[in-house]
């Protein structure tokens, strides 16, 4: 439990430190913890947008196979007369991948900074007053969502783990047949359970994230300050209820062949 004394420079009493050479302002900004929190918030907003649109898009499965598969085609054909097929979709994916990578990089470097900031932990038990389950498990829920994301792509985009369904009659994974692939996947009960658990982790992450981003972005206007918590609850609830309904609908036979 020994900790080394830090050596410090002389006390000047003024801000007379020589001006250090500054990097390009965005990199200079990202060098600070506050700047990294801005990056967490901005990339978080981008990912929130994706999560919301993804959930709404998937609601199409309640309208039937053609609707959701047509919607998938529509995404591939976005702006087609102007841009070649799938280009706009790949641009959006590129943006999301960049946002996700920055979100994770900022989170990892801030976590390391925070662990360094308290190298010797409290030896007695802590009694937290305000910090809630969601805010204290952001790292764990973030890692769960990231691992789940990989599984999700391998299951429904690449088809690696979607080769056989619960019944042999379901047939193999078909690229582009979103509806069939979803049904084939969710008919496996353990997979549905995995989706439900991962979405609850996502909802927990969003509950703190949506509120927290306002603080990180410096948005605390008294006109809407009180609404930040309600917005977080509403957003997390809408996403979780929507996403969890899909595996339940398949298992209940509401969505199926």
């Amino acid at each position: 439990m020994a900790q080394a004394m830090q050596s410090r420079g002389p006390v000047t009493g003024t801000a007379a430190t020589p001006k250090k050479r500054r990097k390009f302002f965005l990199l200079d900004f990202y060098d600070t913890a506050v700047g990294k929190k801005y990056v967490m918030a901005i990339t978080g907003i981008m990912l929130l947008g994706f999560v919301l649109v993804h959930m709404i898009g998937n609601l199409k499965m309640y309208l039937g196979a053609e609707h959701i598969n047509d919607y998938g085609e529509f995404l591939r054909n976005l702006l087609v007369p102007i841009m070649p097929r799938t280009v706009v979709l790949w641009l959006m994916r590129g943006g999301l991948l960049t946002a996700g990578a920055l979100h994770v990089h900022a989170a990892v470097s801030l976590t390391r900074l925070n662990h360094k900031a308290r190298s010797v932990k409290y030896q007695g038990p802590r009694d937290y007053q305000i910090a809630n389950f969601a805010s204290r498990t952001m790292r764990a829920t973030g890692v769960i969502v990231l691992l789940f994301l990989f599984w999700h792509l391998a299951d429904l985009t690449w088809g690696w783990w979607n080769a056989t369904g619960a019944k042999a009659a379901d047939g193999p994974f078909v690229r582009g047949d979103a509806y069939g692939n979803i049904v084939r996947s969710f008919e496996r009960v353990p997979v549905s359970v995995l989706y439900i658990v991962a979405n609850i982790a996502l909802g927990t992450h969003l509950y703190h994230g949506v509120w927290s981003l306002f603080q990180s972005m410096g948005w605390n206007n008294p006109k809407f300050k009180e609404w930040r918590r309600y917005l977080a609850v509403a957003f997390a609830t809408i996403i979780v209820v929507g996403n969890v309904s899909f595996p339940i609908a398949v298992l209940a036979g509401i969505v199926g062949k």
């Binding site: 801000a15 506050v34 007053q129 410096g218």
Partner: protein
């Protein structure tokens, strides 16, 4: 008419010096008035220890009326103990019951090395203030009152921030060891007022970057606000974040762009 608490078990952190590894030691205080403050409990215990020829427990204290920010102590896992909006010196024994076991630990942060027992070195907070917690003011005779008009809500907000006594409870309570509430209070109380405008952008930049050298980052738990003996709001943290962003993108080569 005061009541007395009997048989308090105290588990107190003892550490001989910065390089020592330290350990909890248990002490028994037989009787203490419920009107005694927590620091007076430690005084009574120290008298007892000195009487037994043992080393007294070192702890920080000064004004004992909640305005100096010298006392600290993590009491039962809460900075400044279980009472909201007060420092340890204003925490009274009536908040506890006979037979309680009370765990007392120093602030823990890499920036706050333990000097001895419950005493820590909080000078990194001074480094932050040195970086920008001042204004350029004309010297000479005191100016007339109200010569600079300041709207009442602005004066109130600046006063709320200026309440910070620099005790470091925000850092101690923060699960990340961040000093954002301290820094935000020191930045905001000057940045809100007309007298603070000349250095507004260089202040927030210098203070936040100095804070980064010693402390962790804010993840918006809100623990600091709950621990703060002056109940300073985390709204000031959002204000600091906003000013920091604006400072970073401002082109200060043009003086008129303040």
């Amino acid at each position: 008419m005061s009541n007395h608490l009997q048989n308090l078990n105290l588990k107190i952190w003892r550490q001989d010096g910065p390089a020592d590894s330290g350990r909890f030691e248990s002490y028994l205080v037989g009787s203490i008035s419920d009107e005694a403050s927590f620091l007076e409990l430690l005084d009574v215990l120290n008298e007892q220890l000195i009487g037994e020829g043992q080393d007294a427990i070192a702890f920080d204290h000064d004004c004992r009326e909640g305005i100096c920010g010298t006392c600290s102590l993590m009491i039962d896992g809460q900075a400044h103990g279980p009472q909201r909006g007060t420092a340890t010196c204003q925490l009274h024994m009536r908040k506890f019951a006979s037979g309680d076991t009370i765990v007392v630990e120093p602030w823990r942060a890499t920036a706050f090395p333990i000097l001895k027992d419950l005493m820590v070195d909080r000078s990194p907070l001074d480094r932050i203030v040195e970086a920008g917690g001042f204004i350029t003011a004309a010297t000479g005779g005191a100016p007339d009152a109200n010569i600079i008009p300041i709207p009442k809500p602005v004066a109130d907000a600046a006063m709320d921030a200026a309440e910070c006594i620099g005790c470091g409870a925000c850092v101690a309570a923060c699960p990340n060891g961040a000093a954002n509430l301290f820094t935000a209070a020191k930045v905001s109380h000057l940045n809100l007022l007309p007298q603070g405008q000349a250095e507004r952008w260089s202040r927030v930049e210098a203070m936040v970057e100095t804070m980064d050298e010693y402390f962790g980052s804010c993840t918006n738990h809100g623990e600091c606000e709950a621990a703060c003996p002056k109940s300073i709001s985390i709204d000031f943290i959002a204000m600091m974040h906003k000013d920091f962003r604006r400072a970073k993108v401002k082109n200060r080569t043009l003086i008129s762009q303040i």
